[in-house]
């Protein structure tokens, strides 16, 4: 093992281009927070887990922070607290973040039975960053239990210091386009229902075989994400027709990891959302037609030049001198109103795929599955997360409504296609 070096973490740093929005949008009713959890094969020991968190935290300088207010912007400052608390899990994951709670850390570590979970505020990092954090945490936990776990895949080597690239905001670095992509979009269909009490969310996870899903998607000539997006779109289109409401477009928002397009090592936010949509006014789409629509649209939208135009536009907005010199209170007020009136108005469903979680071979005997749960939305009933480890794919819904007809229709569709699905939920 190499000698542990002293780590020089900067005292403060700016929020990244995607992260600057989230603190302003953060309210008592809604926070942009998401969860990655790992289920092990044995009961979790909280004392060892606490030690593991303490050990790995210096390796993740972008997580070892607290949110502070400047005169013009929020910024992240090194958190002087050395030991983040580790708590028993709760029924309502991803409840709102308050910057002064949890020792001012912007993540929360939980344990319950066999699983370890990390809820993370999106201003700190995206799903990719959080997965690295939890995988390294689980590896360290297993090491403290007396197992030999090397670094590799999503497990970072905690004996070396984090390179500067992991802390950089890579949006301005790659934003080169002079083109300006339009941000405005039409308001789309939303499945409505009875709102759950404040801070509550209904989580429904379906565990299935990755190989079975991959085979189904391959047969149709699409990827797993496109396949699931098409099912969600089909459910929403049919639901809208049944409700006999004024027909609106149905759209699915899909975030993509920009590290797959640009050579980036950052542990902070570096993803962008793409949107695929269909207009039911054009006529009734069959499932195969929807598959084709989703696959073609998503592949067109994944064009590097289009993505770069979108990033460049966001970076230009951040660098606008007028906005930069606007006091933070004014920015927050404007952002709050914009969130209240237009948040999620252009998205019927949200689908984020973490992709296959690659871990060292030595960890495989200890890990059952990886679960990715997006935070509940303000209006969107179907906020879905996909994660896969070994042959286990977990599809999770975070629903802010009591009704679960979308979840039911989604999983029964898969059952009808011949996929074995195991359901777990936080509903009582």
């Amino acid at each position: 093992m190499s000698e542990k070096k002293m780590f020089q973490q900067p005292d403060w740093f700016r929020l990244d281009n995607a992260g600057i929005l989230f603190p302003g949008q953060n309210t008592n009713k809604w926070s942009n927070i998401f969860r990655v959890s790992i289920e092990l094969k044995e009961e979790i020991d909280p004392d060892i887990l606490k030690q593991a968190v303490k050990n790995i935290l210096p390796r993740f300088p972008s997580f070892n922070v607290r949110m502070r207010k400047g005169f013009f912007w929020y910024y992240l400052e090194k958190n002087p607290v050395k030991e983040p608390s580790v708590n028993p899990d709760i029924q309502n994951p991803c409840y709102r973040v308050k910057f002064k709670e949890s020792d001012r850390f912007l993540f929360r570590v939980y344990y319950h039975g066999n699983h370890i979970a990390v809820d993370l505020f999106h201003a700190v990092s995206d799903g990719y960053g959080n997965t690295h954090f939890i995988c390294t945490l689980v590896a360290e936990y297993l090491r403290l239990k007396g197992n030999h776990i090397p670094a590799g895949g999503f497990v970072k080597d905690i004996n070396i210091c984090a390179p500067a690239e992991e802390l950089s905001d890579d949006f301005p670095k790659f934003a080169k386009s002079k083109a300006s992509s339009p941000i405005t979009d039409k308001h789309v269909y939303h499945a409505k229902g009875t709102k759950l009490p404040k801070h509550m969310v209904n989580i429904t996870s379906g565990t299935m075989s990755f190989a079975a899903i991959h085979k189904l998607a391959k047969e149709k000539g699409v990827t797993v994400t496109e396949f699931f997006a098409a099912i969600l779109m089909d459910i929403h289109c049919r639901k809208q027709l049944r409700e006999k409401r004024k027909l609106k477009e149905v759209s699915v928002q899909i975030p993509i990891n920009l590290r797959n397009i640009y050579p980036s090592e950052t542990m902070r936010n570096f993803s962008i959302c793409l949107r695929v949509k269909v207009d039911p006014k054009l006529g009734e789409y069959s499932f195969d037609e929807l598959l084709q629509q989703v696959a073609l649209q998503l592949r067109l939208e994944r064009d590097e030049k289009k993505i770069n135009a979108q990033i460049s536009k966001h970076v230009r907005i951040e660098k606008n001198p007028f906005l930069r010199f606007l006091p933070l209170a004014v920015k927050n007020f404007a952002l709050g109103i914009a969130t209240l009136t237009s948040a999620e108005q252009t998205t019927s469903a949200y689908l984020t795929n973490l992709g296959p979680v690659v871990l060292p071979e030595e960890t495989k005997p200890f890990i059952e599955k990886v679960v990715f749960i997006p935070g509940p939305g303000m209006r969107t009933a179907a906020r879905c997360g996909i994660s896969s480890f070994n042959d286990r794919l977990v599809f999770s819904f975070a629903n802010c409504y009591k009704e679960n007809d979308i979840e039911r229709e989604f999983f029964t569709t898969l059952v009808k296609m011949g996929v074995h699905v195991k359901i777990e939920s936080n509903r009582e």
Partner: protein, 234 residues
């Protein structure tokens, strides 16, 4: 392992009912295990927030201080003219509109609007009735205007909270608005010592009321609705 007979999905070993369709799990072969962990924790955490009532109480005290000072000063400065009433009525209006809602646990939009209307009517009476033509002006013009606007807002609130809006409900909405306007006009004109004759409004009101009943029936009955759709398409 148990499966849902309705959905076909496998259920968690601890599940008592299907998480998708609420069908109860009945598996005579399943052993009752006491120390089995559920896949999700069953303990919710509801974070505590700043107590709204406490903040509202502080603001109420802040409102009270200038009013008490003004009442006290009125005994010494210009005591024959009760000028403190102006300060009191303005404060009361602000308090009812902006502070009072925070004392309630759940916001009742209709009830709040009734309070607001009463507060506005009282405020206008105290502040302007004497200066702008006396009680006749107040009961003849100011009060009807406030009442009509308020009732229209209440009905608009009701209408906007309705989920399904058929075109017949829109027509019904127009007639209900008209009934409200004419009824209030009739009542106010009667009490305002007949500035304008109210008979014509009474006839209009009766006609609109009859139409409201017709459209109410049309809105409820599928048969009438489809007949109207057939006969009156544009």
């Amino acid at each position: 392992m148990s499966y849902c007979v309705n959905c076909g999905v496998e259920l968690d070993a601890t599940a008592k009912k299907c998480a998708l369709c609420d069908t109860p799990v009945y598996n005579p072969l399943r052993k009752e295990e006491k120390d089995v962990t559920t896949p999700f924790s069953q303990t919710p955490v509801i974070p505590t927030n700043i107590k709204q009532k406490f903040v509202a109480l502080i603001v109420t005290y802040i409102f009270l201080i200038p009013n008490l000072v003004c009442i006290f000063l009125n005994f010494f400065i210009n005591p024959e003219n009760l000028w403190f009433i102006y300060v009191l009525s303005s404060s009361l209006l602000c308090w009812i509109v902006f502070v009072f809602p925070f004392f309630t646990k759940k916001l009742h939009p209709y009830l709040m609007w009734v309070f607001d209307t009463v507060a506005i009517a009282l405020y206008v009476f105290v502040f302007h009735a004497k200066n702008l033509g006396g009680e006749k002006w107040y009961f003849g013009i100011a009060l009807p205007t406030i009442a009509i606007t308020s009732l229209c807002v209440v009905y608009f609130l009701y209408w906007i909270r309705q989920r399904k809006r058929h075109w017949t409900s829109k027509v019904l909405h127009i007639f209900i608005d008209l009934v409200i306007i004419f009824t209030v006009l009739c009542i106010c004109l009667y009490f305002a010592n007949h500035i304008i004759t109210f008979d014509i409004f009474l006839v209009l009101d009766a006609c609109c009321l009859a139409l409201v009943f017709f459209w109410l029936y049309a809105n409820k009955s599928k048969k009438v609705r489809s007949w109207l759709g057939k006969k009156m398409f544009v």
